[in-house]
């Protein structure tokens, strides 16, 4: 088990390094650079040249990449090219903001989705099952952008129950934070619950058709006991997997939701950084996203092994 985790960590690091190379190459391919975005329509050849020298952009790309890698390996994320602020001071608050929103959505979404999934599996074919599935499919097929705007229209413009702007700042109270982030949380919930629920339902159903479940029923056990004690533990591995994927999505896939609600998370941070060509910010944000993804994938795999005795004790 330890060996496995170490191996996965090593692979994760290689993945991260590959991501950093790809991102750097990508930023080099983009038209324009930070100097032309800073100076905009006021750019003159002299001021452009001068600014590029000031920012160290005249060094060859490989040299700049290696410098960045050296810093990154020693825990120094560098400075924003445009404002000279340390990247870490800009990035971590935004990372925690995204994490907080994801945690809020996951805390409600995961139990809800797994519960619904088990319920619909138990009542296969009932009206409840069919209604839940139709709703889930509807939520999944609407783009987040549209869902978010729909929620804003209903809950803030027409009824004024909730703010349309997820305006959060340090020092606001917990209840104020909850109020500000409820609409974006709902949007994320609608998008992710459906998938987790349907996967849970499928996994539980696959187990329910097995002989030992039939035996349990024939023994006269109650349905609830059969589902919770006999079926669900054996369906846990695929469920854990889909939950981990969706949590990863909650953290890395929030760019659109953040734009609609103007939430100050890492997604908007990355969009800003790319549009300004502020390479150290792009690189740092991309690395954080990639690390989250790699870690959660690893957790999903390890959970699948831990929950499956046959994988835990290979012959």
């Amino acid at each position: 088990m330890t060996q496995l985790i170490l191996k996965r960590l090593g692979l994760g690091l290689v993945t991260l390094w590959l991501v950093s190379v790809l991102i750097f190459a990508g930023t080099q391919l983009l038209p324009g650079d930070i100097a032309s975005t800073i100076l905009g329509q006021n750019a003159t050849p002299e001021s452009l040249a001068r600014l590029r020298t000031e920012l160290g952009l005249d060094a060859p790309a490989v040299v700049r990449y290696l410098q960045w890698l050296k810093g990154f390996a020693t825990g120094d994320l560098g400075q924003s090219l445009a404002s000279g602020q340390p990247v870490s001071a800009l990035l971590w608050p935004r990372f925690w903001a995204t994490m907080a929103l994801a945690a809020y959505a996951a805390a409600i979404g995961v139990p809800l989705a797994v519960g619904l999934g088990i319920l619909t599996a138990v009542r296969r074919g009932s009206l409840f099952d069919r209604a839940a599935n139709v709703l889930a499919l509807t939520a999944v097929s609407l783009p987040e952008y549209f869902l978010g705007l729909l929620l804003i229209l209903v809950f803030s413009v027409q009824t004024n129950w909730l703010p349309s702007l997820a305006d959060t700042y340090p020092g606001m109270g917990f209840s104020a934070w909850i109020e500000a982030t409820t609409l974006p949380m709902l949007t994320l919930l609608l998008v992710t619950v459906a998938q987790m629920m349907r996967m849970t339902r499928t996994a539980v159903l696959a187990v329910m058709d097995r002989a030992y479940i039939e035996t349990a029923f024939l023994k006269g056990l109650q349905t609830r006991r059969v589902v919770l004690c006999h079926a669900t533990p054996n369906a846990a591995a695929p469920i854990a997997n889909v939950v981990a994927f969706n949590v990863a999505y909650l953290i890395t896939g929030v760019v659109l939701v953040e734009a609609v609600f103007n939430y100050n998370g890492l997604g908007r941070f990355l969009v800003d950084a790319v549009s300004k060509r502020d390479f150290p910010l792009v690189q740092a944000a991309a690395m954080v996203f990639a690390a989250v993804y790699v870690l959660l994938n690893m957790v999903a795999d390890i959970a699948a092994i831990a929950l499956n005795p046959r994988l835990r004790h290979p012959r």
């Binding site: 983009l30 032309s36 000279g84 602020q85 803030s156 702007l165 340090p170 950084a273 910010l281």
Partner: protein, 521 residues
């Protein structure tokens, strides 16, 4: 029914050859019930919340690097400029109190306002002003480097006066110094993460690209300004998020309202739309050095082949004015009012094609919403009108990202825009003088270049006006830009906010809204 309430009659007051009014004034009628400059005394108190688009995590308050609307507004909250442009487009004193030019307009003397203090308690001195101007001169990466390039020397005359010598005469120097990059900081100041200024508000919290909160400077020098206790700026780049925030009452004001949704916003009784006519205009640029645009007949055919009225109604919903293929707005005192307005005329367009030896003309237009919101739709409207004039216009959609690096000034025929400039000279110099690095039609006209420099140094405004009228005619009849329309600056402001006026330079009262308004109890 979205006709601008403005008539185009200008109040052409006689030019006052006084020191503080080198540009003749004109009045913008306030087309806003409830938003006229109230006589009422401002009320103190309250927190003003602004939702502003045009900010990013990379923002800095370094005056040399100001390019976007959020940092420009924030910079004006913390710092003061040298000269202010008022709502009538006149240069009025800010930290420089009086000015005088010697004949020829190369030698200027400016008086420093007395009794102003920085937020750290230090008194404002001549040295601070000289340091702040020099940030943009010489070997610098300042975005205002080109604006300051005409300054040959800045020196101290006394504790109250500085002398500025120019390389060539420029009667508009006070307007040049009104540029938003010329903000004043203490001599030797370099900590741009926390600028110390003389402005109406003092630094409290600042999270670039997200939000900021500045509190009132209790000893601010400007009368009836800095009325609110604090200003919160929330950066909202997404136009629909900005509009929603305004509709649900979470902010008091938003900038850059979408032309498409402004009429919907107007239905909301809790807000007013502030409409400012100014120099912002939208262009179709022909590169005069690339075929077929080397032939002026082709350029004229394309100018006659556009339906300006239709474009103004569809792309801007009527919130603007018709353009006449030159960049000077009707709000400018030097606007060529006697120049005949060019109209959609397919026959004339065909005639010019014939002169160029063609029956029909295929052209490709590079279009992107980077030029302005709705540019691609505008291109489609143009195509329909041009087809009637024998011009087969095909639209090449370009990605918005990188448009200014890859397409602008490179494609033979593309779309663009210009924000307004405070003076005719600046606008003509930056975009049409052949030596300018932003001459985006690559137009070269010796007569134009010569007269432009002559007019720049003229203190006789009547004669100057005649020359500018001629220059506009030259651009209109020979230049490479099709300029169908000028777009108004649109803001939405809550009815709780008092003291808001339209302003010819930019949104939000020339980016100085925060210091001027107050909140109703």
């Amino acid at each position: 029914m979205a006709r601008s309430p403005f008539t185009s009659t200008l109040d052409r007051r006689a030019f006052l050859a006084s020191t503080a009014a080198l540009g003749a004034g004109l009045l913008l009628p306030a087309g806003l019930p409830g938003a006229r400059a109230q006589e009422a005394t401002p009320r103190k108190g309250g927190v003003l919340k602004l939702g502003i688009g045009g900010g990013s995590t990379s923002d800095t308050l370094d005056p040399r690097k100001l390019t976007d609307w959020v940092p420009v507004n924030q910079a004006f909250m913390l710092m003061n400029g040298l000269v202010e442009i008022d709502k009538d487009n006149k240069a009025v004193p800010e930290l420089l109190e009086r000015w005088e030019a010697k004949p020829g307009a190369t030698e200027w003397v400016f008086d420093l306002r007395q009794g102003v203090t920085f937020h750290d308690g230090k008194s404002l001195t001549v040295e601070d002003v000289i340091y702040s101007i020099n940030l943009h001169r010489g070997d610098t990466s300042s975005a205002a480097r080109a604006v300051a390039a005409g300054i040959a020397d800045v020196k101290k005359l006394s504790d109250r006066q500085i002398a500025i010598t120019l390389k060539d005469g420029n009667a508009d120097l006070p307007y040049v110094l009104s540029d938003y990059h010329f903000l004043v900081v203490p001599d030797g100041f370099t900590d741009w993460t926390k600028p110390v200024g003389t402005g109406p508000f003092v630094f409290e919290t600042y999270d670039p690209g997200v939000r900021s909160r500045f509190k009132r400077n209790e000893s601010y020098w400007k009368p009836n300004c800095a009325n609110v206790d604090a200003v919160e700026v929330i950066v909202i780049n997404d136009i629909s998020a900005r509009t929603n925030a305004m509709m649900s009452g979470q902010v008091h004001a938003i900038n850059r309202v979408d032309f498409k949704t402004v009429d919907l916003l107007k239905r909301n009784p809790r807000l007013q739309v502030v409409q400012s006519a100014g120099g912002q205009h939208f262009t179709f640029l022909m590169d005069c050095t690339q075929k077929p645009f080397t032939d002026n007949n082709i350029r004229l055919a394309l100018k006659y082949g556009i339906d300006r009225q239709q474009l103004l109604q569809t792309a801007l919903r009527g919130y603007g004015r018709i353009g006449n293929d030159h960049p000077i707005p009707s709000t400018d005192p030097f606007f060529a009012k006697d120049l005949a307005q060019r109209a959609y005329d397919p026959d004339k367009a065909k005639y010019h094609l014939k002169q160029a030896g063609l029956d029909s003309l295929p052209v490709t237009l590079s279009a992107s919403d980077a030029a302005f919101a709705g540019a691609v739709d505008a291109a489609a409207v143009y195509r329909t009108a041009a087809a009637g004039a024998g011009i087969d216009l095909s639209i090449k959609r370009e990605p918005a990202d990188g448009y200014w690096d890859n397409v602008w000034m490179k494609a033979p025929f593309c779309m663009s825009y210009w924000g307004g400039r405070p003076t005719a000279d600046q606008m003509l110099s930056i975009a049409y003088q052949s030596s300018s690095s932003q001459n985006d039609t690559h137009w070269k006209n010796e007569e134009f270049d010569k007269l432009l420099v002559e007019a720049r140094a003229m203190l006789d405004q009547t004669k100057r006006g005649e020359i500018y009228a001629h220059l506009q005619e030259l651009i209109s009849n020979d230049g490479g830009a099709v300029i169908p329309m000028f777009g108004d600056y649109l803001d939405a402001v809550s009815t709780k906010v008092k003291g808001v006026t339209p302003h010819p330079m930019f949104n939000f009262m020339g980016a100085r809204l925060a210091e001027k308004v107050w909140l109703d109890a």
